[in-house]
């Protein structure tokens, strides 16, 4: 998507300050944030065919509903949402690309009493946790929700509203990060997947790729689902699995919906996305399925009946990167100092925290206590 120069303007150093394995939203946000503290950075990416969540996602900057079981994740998410305007402004200034950040609040619609009861119970459990950060949220009845969403279908009996939610255009975000990296002289290396990784006695990492061996003093694994296998090579246990989501895109229409729903949004240029399916389907990202798509479409039309006449232009599936408990993993290797892993399933929401908070830690070479909750040691607690 980004037209990074094939021959980097900056000479390739014998040893990079950092090698970032993975050119998706996580890897790009981290490389962006590590520069210029580290001058020589390379981002190693796969080619066109990859499990590329960064090109298949929905683009929400979403806070409500996150963090049950780990309030630190809710805090990190809320923090990122708060940092997002800074990231968006910097990208606009550096690249001229407006990633279309809007944070007008967000709605989670419920289409039955059973859904409402389950959701309210969930939200009460979420916000009843000790150490849960406090932010406003409210259960709206149909009339209150319809004031926020003109034309809301009568089937939407209730909705959870929170003013902290929002959305960006995820493709513009991806492009802006790539353009910013290219302008800063960070080397983006497509068709350059890491195969083997070793660390020498000098502490330098040597990453073998189809295009030769690259060396770096620091290693950041941001390779999504490939982090599991790559992590094993540097003593990092990264329990991630694919979770498939399907999205339907509708044709462009005049503007109708300013507030994003977790299931439905209208993009800045008028097209619509319908989403929020979750399937455990292994690594199969080439299929879409009628049962899921039909359900998504039906719920979208119930939510906003005006969409009944609006045509579908395409549908796709993509793979979320889910850790064993669904929360991010940020960890330095205990056996290979200087090797880090960063993985999450919310590369858009967390892009600001990754670029502005996590990346400086990686550049400095030490994770700070603010992200200590995301250690992979939480998976290794001895069962009593």
């Amino acid at each position: 998507m980004a037209h990074a120069p094939t021959r980097p303007a900056r000479a390739r150093p014998a040893v990079y300050d950092a090698l970032v394995v993975g050119g998706g939203l996580v890897g790009c946000a981290l490389a962006y944030g590590m520069h210029p503290a580290l001058a020589d950075i390379a981002v190693l990416d796969e080619g066109d065919i990859a499990w590329r969540a960064s090109r298949g996602n929905f683009g929400l900057v979403w806070v409500q509903s996150k963090g049950l079981g780990m309030p630190a994740y809710a805090r990190w998410t809320l923090h990122s949402a708060g940092l997002w305007p800074t990231l968006a402004a910097r990208l606009l200034e550096e690249t001229g690309i407006d990633v279309q950040l809007r944070q007008p609040g967000g709605l989670f619609p419920m289409l039955s009493d059973a859904e409402t009861q389950a959701r309210v119970k969930f939200m009460q459990a979420l916000h009843g946790q000790p150490d849960m950060p406090s932010y406003p949220w409210k259960l709206l009845d149909h009339k209150e929700a319809a004031e926020l969403v003109p034309g809301l279908g009568p089937a939407v009996q209730h909705a959870i509203w929170s003013p902290v939610d929002g959305a960006v255009n995820p493709l513009k975000l991806f492009r802006a990060l790539h353009v910013a990296l290219a302008r800063r002289g960070v080397h983006y290396l497509p068709r350059c997947p890491a195969t083997t990784i070793t660390q020498g006695d000098d502490g330098v990492f040597r990453v073998t790729t189809p295009q030769g061996v690259l060396s770096g003093r620091r290693l950041v694994l941001a390779a999504g689902l490939n982090n599991r296998a790559l992590g094993e090579q540097v003593g990092l246990d990264v329990p991630v699995r694919p979770q498939r989501g399907q999205i339907i895109a509708l044709e462009r229409t005049r503007r109708l919906l300013d507030i994003p729903l977790n299931t439905l949004r209208q993009m800045d240029e008028g097209s619509w996305l319908v989403a929020d399916s979750q399937e455990e389907a292994g690594f199969e990202d080439r299929l879409v399925g009628l049962p899921v798509l039909a359900t998504l479409a039906e719920r979208a039309v119930l939510t906003l009946p005006a969409l009944r006449d609006v045509r579908i232009v395409r549908a796709w599936s993509a793979l979320r990167i889910m850790s064993a408990d669904g929360f991010p993993i940020y960890q330095e290797s205990p056996t290979h100092p200087g090797a880090f892993v960063a993985t999450c399933h919310s590369g858009v929401t967390l892009a600001a925290a990754h670029a502005l908070e996590l990346a400086p830690m990686l550049a400095a070479g030490a994770l700070q206590p603010t992200v200590s909750a995301f250690t992979n040691r939480r998976f290794h607690v001895q069962k009593a």
């Binding site: 503007r255 240029e269 008028g270």
Partner: protein, 98 residues
Amino acid sequence: MFRRLDGTAGTTVHLTYEGRPLACREGDSVAAALLAHGHAACRDTVVGGVPRGPYCMMGVCYDCLVTIDGQPNRQACMTRVREGMVVQRQSGPREVAP
């Protein structure tokens, strides 16, 4: 820009484009008929209001959108001409009932 191949006859089909009669040939797509009559642009884009017209002729580029018989955003290249069809330029985003 485009001209029909010699010796390819066919039944004439009549439609209107922007209120004016347009004689087409049976089997034409709406896009082909428009191009044959020199209408290179048939829509104005949603974002920038820029004129665009049929490009890929196979249903993937969505640059040939027109309104057909009152239905907005129809792909002209994927729609066969029909007697009496009413075709209009697609200007900007389609309307939706609120």
